[in-house]
Symmetry: C2
Subunit: 321 residues, 2 copies
C-alpha cells in the first residue's frame, strides 16, 4: 500500500534533526511555535534545489538532503548567525520509501551536527524540488553584512573554491579525472561544508561577509557593490586544492575557483587595523582561509596577474538568462 | 535582453509587500535580519504550490501570487498569530516579465493588506513551483493549537467550504455552471480569504483550531485526533453558499463542502462554558462562521444525518498516494 502524506511525515521527518527545548510546537500543527532567545535578532534564509538544475536528477538522495540544508546553513554562516530551526518544502514525483529514507538521513545528520531542529514543512507531488527555510539567531547588532567593507580592507576566502564546480562537471561527464580525484571532487560537490563556526567567530573581526555560492569573483563583487567599493583579487593568491591543480592544471584550476559556483565558502573583508587580531585569534592554517586581495575605491571586481587585469567570460552562475 | 536574476529581484520583489520597521535587513543580503517582538513567540509555516497540482498551469499569475501567500496566512490564522515576514522561493521555467509583474502584484496586494514584508527568497529555473515561508508572532503562551479540544466542545467552521473545490472543478472543465456562478466559485478558488482577524480573536475563545485546506471532514478529524477525541458533524449544519447550492443541489453541495479542499477556512472548537462569550463578542453573522457539530469521546470523524452515520468515499486531499 502506498504511503500516505501523514505517514510519510511521521516515518521520515517527525524526528529528523536535533531536538531543541526552544521548539514549543514542531511538526504536526498548522505552524511551528518557537521561543526566540532574548537579546537576539532573528536570521532567516531560504534556498531551493531543483533536480536537473542544482543537482543531477540521479544524485544520491542523502547528498540532496545534505545539500538542501547546507546551502542554507552557508547563508546563515555568512551572517555570523547560529542556526536553530528549519522548515522543509519537499516536492516529489512519488513517495519512494528508499529515496525518502536516504534523503532524510542526509538532512538529519547535518541538522544534528549543527543543532538544527526540523520544525515544519510541506510535502507535495510534482517535479523533484527541495526548498529549505532556515532560521537562526545572532546577538543584537552583531550580524555580519555584505555592506560594511571599505577601500583598503583585506579580502579572504575560506576553503578551496572550484572543487565543487569540478565535482559537478565530473558528475555530468563534462570532465575526466583519476579515480581518487573524482571521489574527492565529487564529494565536495555533493556534500559542501557550511562554515558555521568560522562565520560566528568572524563577527569579531570581519567588516563584511558573503557566502560563495555563485562563483568567488561574482560574489566578491556583490560584497564590494553592497559596500560601495570595488575589489581586486590576485590570481596567484586564489587557493586551490592539490586535487584540482593536478586535475586541471594551475591556470584552469584558478579560473574555476574564481567562476565555478557551488562552493559554499565564506568570502570576507577585514579592516587593515583588525588584521593582527584576526590572524592571532583565528590562525589561517587552523581555520582554513586565505588572503586573496583587497577592497579598493574604484567600483567593480577585477582579477590581477603580474600587474595586469585579466578578462573572464563570466563571473558567476546566473539562473536568468 | 533577458532579465538577470538580480535585475528580476530588484524590479519585482525589492519593494513587494509592506514596509516594516522590524526588518533590519531585507532582500539583498545572505539572509534577512529581523527584530522579534518581546513577549512574543515566533510562528513559522511553509506551503508549496506546484503548477498542475495545486493550480492549473494557466492560472492568472496574480492569483498564483495571492494564493501562495494566502495558504500560509491561513496556517498562521489557525494559530491565532499575527503575520509579519515572508520569504518567497520561486521556481520558474523562464523570466517572463509580464507573468512576473502580475504574480508580484497579486502577492504584494495581499501582503500589504496583512502588513507582511517580503524579506528574502530565492529565484531558480525549473518547473513552475512556489514555496512561501511565513513568519509571525503570537503573545507568549496564547497560540491556538489543534490539541486543546475535549469531548463536548462545540465545533464551528468559518465561511462556506466547498466553493473553492467547485471553482477548481470549473477551471478544469470537470463541472459546468451559470456565468455568474462560475465567476463567484472561480474567484473563491483563485483568491481564498485567509481568516487572520478571526484567528486572532479566537485566541480568547477557542480550545483548538485548524485551517481547512484538505477538506473539512478530514481536517476536523485531524483536530479531533490531536485532541485525543472524535468529532461528529451534522450534515444539515454544514454551511454552503447559495451559489454552490444552486450549482450542485443540496446533497452534492454539502458533500463537496465536507471533502473538497482548498477552502482556507478555520475549523475550531469551543468549550461549552465559553460559548456565551464567543457568541456575544464575535457574533456569527458578523464574523461569518457556523456551528457544525461537536467533539465526542469516541475517536474518528463522522457525519450524521437524521441520526444515521453517512459514508464518504474519501475525507480529504492526499498527495501520496
Amino acid at each position: 500500500m502506498p504511503l500516505s502524506e501523514s505517514a510519510l511525515i511521521e516515518r521520515y521527518f517527525r524526528t529528523c534533526g536535533a531536538q531543541r527545548p526552544d521548539v514549543l510546537a514542531g511538526i504536526g500543527d498548522d505552524a511551528a511555535l518557537l521561543a526566540v532567545a532574548p537579546d537576539a535578532e532573528l536570521v532567516a534564509a531560504t534556498d531551493t534545489l531543483v533536480a536537473g538544475v542544482h543537482f543531477p536528477a540521479g544524485s544520491p538522495p542523502a547528498s540532496i538532503g545534505h545539500r538542501s540544508l547546507a546551502v542554507n546553513l552557508s547563508d546563515l554562516a555568512a551572517m555570523g548567525a547560529r542556526p536553530a530551526w528549519a522548515l522543509l518544502a519537499l516536492t516529489l514525483p512519488d513517495a519512494d520509501e528508499g529515496w525518502l529514507a536516504e534523503f532524510a538521513a542526509g538532512f538529519s545528520a547535518l541538522a544534528r551536527a549543527h543543532e538544527v531542529a526540523l520544525v515544519g514543512g510541506d510535502t507535495t507531488r510534482g517535479p523533484l524540488c527541495v526548498t529549505v527555510q532556515l532560521l537562526g539567531h545572532v546577538p543584537r547588532g552583531e550580524a555580519l553584512r555584505r555592506c560594511g567593507a571599505r577601500a583598503g580592507d583585506v579580502l579572504f576566502v575560506s576553503g578551496t573554491p572550484g572543487d565543487a564546480a569540478a565535482g559537478l562537471a565530473l558528475e555530468q561527464g563534462r570532465l575526466h579525472a583519476s579515480a581518487a580525484a573524482l571521489a574527492y571532487l565529487r564529494e565536495r560537490f555533493l556534500r559542501p561544508t557550511p562554515r558555521i563556526a568560522l562565520g560566528q567567530r568572524l563577527r569579531r573581526h570581519a567588516s563584511a561577509c558573503i557566502d560563495v555560492s555563485d562563483g568567488l569573483l561574482g560574489d566578491a563583487g556583490k560584497l564590494a557593490d553592497a559596500s560601495r567599493a570595488g575589489v581586486e583579487i590576485s590570481f596567484g593568491a586564489v587557493p586551490v586544492s592539490e586535487t584540482l591543480l593536478r586535475t586541471l592544471g594551475e591556470e584552469r584550476a584558478r579560473e574555476l575557483a574564481l567562476t565555478g559556483g557551488d562552493d559554499y565558502e565564506l568570502c570576507f573583508a577585514v579592516h587593515a587595523e583588525n588584521l593582527p587580531a584576526l590572524l592571532a585569534e583565528l590562525p589561517p592554517h587552523s581555520w582554513g582561509y586565505s588572503r586573496i586581495g583587497a577592497l579598493r575605491s574604484a567600483p567593480g571586481a577585477v582579477v590581477v596577474r603580474d600587474g595586469t587585469v585579466m578578462e573572464f567570460s563570466h563571473s558567476g552562475y546566473q539562473h536568468f538568462p
